[in-house]
């Protein structure tokens, strides 16, 4: 009886408020308050996460660093025997290796890719995601339409890789296939994180997270 009920509740069309079951545990973000509001208790790996910011440098990297450090180290939850690479596709500035190492990221598994045009950025990100080599792929895309985001979402599932798209705030009106959409606003008190869309979760605003 209970097993058939479980099966029914697993159906994604059944909305269960805050008490939902999650098939796959998320990747701990390192921020307990954020983890509490994310379905699965962390970042949804093997899916596309979108982070919208007004400008780059307001704390979007610090938000990710604990999770990336965890991916970069030996991860007992991973499906593979060795940790994956972290690919940076078209970063707006230079990721600074000494600071990355201070955050606990293994620099020998870093891949920086700087494609020329918008279509090349998406192609590179898709290649990196679907290759199965990268644990996480961070990319900065000005243009990412619904179809492209769906492609990347599929590539992330195929390659068991976490796709993170950084996009300008203007993109908030565009539809997206991302499993998680965050908006980051910098205020004088700190950075406000707004969960706009979360598959299996609820929209929330988290103040002074960073």
């Amino acid at each position: 009886m209970s097993s058939s009920l479980d099966k029914l509740l697993e159906n994604p069309r059944v909305w269960r408020g805050t008490h939902q079951t999650q098939r796959k545990a998320g990747l701990t973000s390192g921020y307990p308050e954020l983890d509490r509001h994310l379905p699965g208790g962390g970042w949804p790996t093997e899916a596309l996460t979108e982070i919208l910011t007004e400008q780059y440098g307001i704390g979007e990297l610090r938000l990710l660093m604990p999770a990336l450090a965890r991916l970069s180290a030996e991860d007992p939850q991973s499906d593979y025997s060795e940790p994956g690479w972290i690919a940076w596709v078209a970063p707006p500035f230079q990721p600074y290796p000494p600071a990355l190492q201070q955050c606990g990221i293994d620099l020998s598994r870093m891949l920086i890719v700087r494609p020329k045009g918008p279509s090349e950025i998406l192609w590179s990100a898709e290649q990196a995601l679907s290759s199965g080599t990268c644990a996480a792929v961070l990319f900065w895309a000005e243009t990412l339409d619904d179809q492209a985001s769906r492609r990347l979402q599929l590539a992330a599932e195929k390659g068991h890789s976490w796709a993170i798209a950084f996009r300008p705030m203007l993109a908030r009106q565009q539809p997206s296939a991302a499993a998680l959409r965050l908006e980051l606003h910098s205020t004088a008190q700190g950075t406000r994180v707004h969960i706009v869309k979360s598959r299996g979760g609820r929209p929330t605003v988290l103040n002074n997270l960073l």
Binding site: F93, P95, P97, P98, Q101, L107, S108, W123, G132, T133
Partner: protein
């Protein structure tokens, strides 16, 4: 006992007069060779495979299917050197003048003999033959020799090996005469005589060689004529002549040749080595812009490249394709891969990615493939697999494969990894590391934990406007949180700095890494974001 060994020596000093019996029949009962005991253990029975290409001049420079003859200038007159079957059917014969041949067959194609093309064809064949033996030798202008004693086991015996070589020669368009014998000269003479023979035993060799006509020796015509005049028509007849007299009349070198052919004297040969870099052209009869056709040509070139590297157990990391146009410089396409490789399929995959973007300004007339530096390719040893339930699989693709694909499409400068350098100046504390080079051990120094470093670095420090000495950013005054951290000097490479670094926060709450130059004028610069 060792008469056969001594004979060339006695020629020179001629001191001991041999007995009558020795003089008359020196080779009737050849004495067994006495070899030093320390050599006997290492002596290996050799077997030589000879390929004689009698029609090489025709096959090397033939360009059409029509009746063709090769002509060569002899004393100011072009004479027919070789005629193909069609020309022969029309009555064209070797030695005719070119005009006479044209009178017989007006549609005849005349080709000038090209020794260069013959040599190239021979080298190409030698390269191809390297797959059958590690010892290939270009013995003459039209003779190739292979030492096959060591290859027999690998190819499953003599008949399969022979079949492979002869069918391969046919595919390459060569009509060859083959023979196998324990000595290189013996094999050559057998092949020249047109005997498709396989002799593995030295005693059989002597018996067979005796029957060969003098013409198969390729000796000078004058010599053959005078020998024939003496009633000597076969090698056996030659051997029956007194050695002393033969040497005096015709020279020692011919007697030595006979000794080598029979195996009485060693006959060392030089192994032919193909150049270690691959370079091959494919020329087309007319210009083309058909990209599919060009890709197919590239594929053919890659396949022969793979064979070339396979024969040497080599791989390469770089390739260069050149597409030649009738006018203007060639279009070049460089490919690189992360690990030395020779697989044509893998290179073709990389080529396809790049070829889509390649702009060919004009139609292409010829294509060239040139390999970069080759390196020894170690076969990968597979790991013994003892799977247990807890074992997790390795990642399906290596980073090298991903990097290759990315580099093929967007260029090598745009894809890299990073390594730390022990250096106090922030802009020099790291370097980009190519993914195509060997993995250098990165992260040589542990960064000290207490130093505050930003996650985002600007490529060049940006000048900040200042308001009465205070730095401004996005229209507001910056608040300094932390600092100063003084970083100085760099006299050794003439890029010395003298800066005070601060952590600052702007009105919007963004944290910045800024510095002030200590030298005049002391301006504020933005160097990074804490991200």
């Amino acid at each position: 006992m060792s008469r056969a060994w001594k004979s060339p020596v006695t020629v020179r000093d001629a001191a001991p007069t041999p007995s009558v019996a020795q003089q008359v029949l020196p080779f009737v009962e050849p004495a067994p060779l006495v070899k030093p005991s320390f050599l006997a253990a290492t002596l290996v029975q050799r077997l030589w495979f000879c390929i004689w290409l009698p029609d090489l001049p025709l096959e090397a420079s033939r360009s059409s299917d029509d009746a063709t003859v090769i002509v060569e200038e002899q004393q100011g007159i072009h004479r027919v050197l070789l005629a193909d079957a069609k020309a022969q059917a029309a009555g064209v014969m070797t030695g005719q003048s070119a005009n006479a041949a044209l009178a017989l067959l007006p549609t005849l194609q005349l080709e000038e003999r090209s020794l260069l093309q013959e040599q190239q064809a021979l080298e190409a064949l030698a390269t191809w033959l390297e797959r059958f033996s590690s010892f290939v030798c270009i013995a003459d202008r039209d003779v190739l020799l292979l030492e096959i004693a060591g290859s027999l086991r690998l190819f499953g015996g003599l008949p399969p090996l022979r079949e492979k070589i002869s069918s391969g020669l046919r595919q390459h368009g060569f009509d060859a005469s083959l023979a196998i014998a324990p000595t290189p000269l013996g094999a050559t003479w057998l092949a020249r005589a047109g005997r498709r023979m396989c002799i593995r035993d030295e005693r059989n060799l002597k018996r067979t060689l005796r029957l060969l006509p003098l013409a198969s020796l390729n000796w000078p015509e004058g010599l053959c004529a005078s020998l024939t005049g003496m009633g000597v028509t076969t090698i056996g007849d030659c051997l029956r002549l007194p050695r002393e007299g033969f040497v005096r009349r015709f020279g020692a070198e011919h007697m030595l040749e006979l000794d080598r052919a029979l195996g009485h004297l060693p006959d060392p040969r030089n192994s032919w080595r193909a150049p270690e870099r691959f370079c091959a052209d494919c020329e087309m009869t007319e210009e083309t812009s058909d990209r599919e056709l060009l890709l197919n040509i590239c594929r053919e070139l890659l396949l022969s490249h793979e064979q070339f590297l396979l024969a040497r157990q080599l791989g390469t990391q770089r390739l260069c394709f050149s597409f030649f146009h009738l006018k203007g410089p060639a279009t070049e396409l460089h490919l690189g891969c992360a690990r030395a490789d020779r697989s044509a399929e893998r290179w073709l995959e990389l080529l396809r990615i790049r070829f889509d973007q390649l702009v060919l300004p004009k139609p292409v007339i010829a294509t060239r493939l040139q390999s970069g530096m080759t390196q020894a390719l170690l076969a990968e040893s597979a790991r013994l697999n003892f799977h247990t339930a807890n074992d997790r699989p390795a990642r399906p693709y290596s980073i090298a494969q991903l990097a290759e694909r990315l580099i093929a499409r967007i260029g090598e400068q745009s894809v890299h990894s990073m390594a730390l350098i022990a250096e106090h100046r922030p802009q020099y504390a790291w370097r980009a590391q190519s993914l195509l080079s060997d993995w250098a051990s990165s992260t040589l120094s542990e960064v000290r934990r207490h130093l505050r470093r930003p996650l985002w670095m600007l490529p060049e420090p940006a000048l900040l406007p200042a308001d009465s000495g205070y730095p401004l950013h996005q229209g507001g005054r910056l608040r300094l949180l932390d600092g100063p951290e003084r970083l100085e000097t760099g006299w050794w490479d003439e890029d010395g700095i003298s800066r005070d670094y601060y952590t600052a926060v702007n009105l919007a709450g963004i944290r910045l890494w800024i510095f002030r130059n200590r030298s005049r004028p002391s301006c504020w610069y933005l160097h990074g974001y804490f991200g």
